[in-house]
Assembly symmetry: C2
Homo-oligomer: 107 residues x 2
């Protein structure tokens, strides 16, 4: 499973795939047939998208007889948060320095 920021970005860059992820986020576990009905694309296309999402750690699957139920994995977004957090720290540091400078000038 590839859960790097790169994988997350590439996976969520596709609007159809993002829509599937959002659907699972909002409405909980769904099987492939239901997801296909809502997506407006073919079942194999949906299955492929689900495979990519799973590889990126954004969904989990639960096989049950001839059906496969998929659900969102919110924690899968963590690498995205971390990536932004890197720059969060950077901004924080810069801001603190600027603030420090301004405080000195006030005196």
């Amino acid at each position: 499973m590839d859960t790097t920021a790169d994988s997350i970005f590439r996976t969520l860059a596709d609007p159809t795939r993002r829509a599937i992820f959002e659907q699972l986020m909002r409405h909980g576990e769904q099987n492939v047939r239901v997801l296909t009905e809502y997506s407006g694309i073919s079942q194999p296309a949906v299955s492929k998208h689900l495979g990519v999402l799973k590889l990126a750690g954004l969904v989990r699957d639960r096989p049950d007889g001839r059906q496969t139920h998929y659900s969102a994995e919110p924690k899968g977004l963590a690498p995205l948060i971390d990536w932004m957090g890197l720059y969060g720290a950077f901004w924080r540091e810069r801001f603190d320095r600027l603030e420090d400078l301004l405080n000195r000038m006030d005196q």
Copy 2:
């Protein structure tokens, strides 16, 4: 300018483009020649990436004679934060901190 979540995701999905953005984040304003030297790709390719980043609101340009200086636009990440924020309390706390920081950096 297209600053939807879709545009941000598509723009940052490319690793070269993300590297350019990170470079600008870490080292501040840079002109095209310098960015080209570090990127390992041709100058026209870099210019094209910068055009895409600019369209997505992630960088700003400052023409100066025959040079064009580019700098990162941290606020451009806001749509990404908004998109993740849709999914509620799970990440709320971390989002709020990031968002607050972004707002402060914007002045």
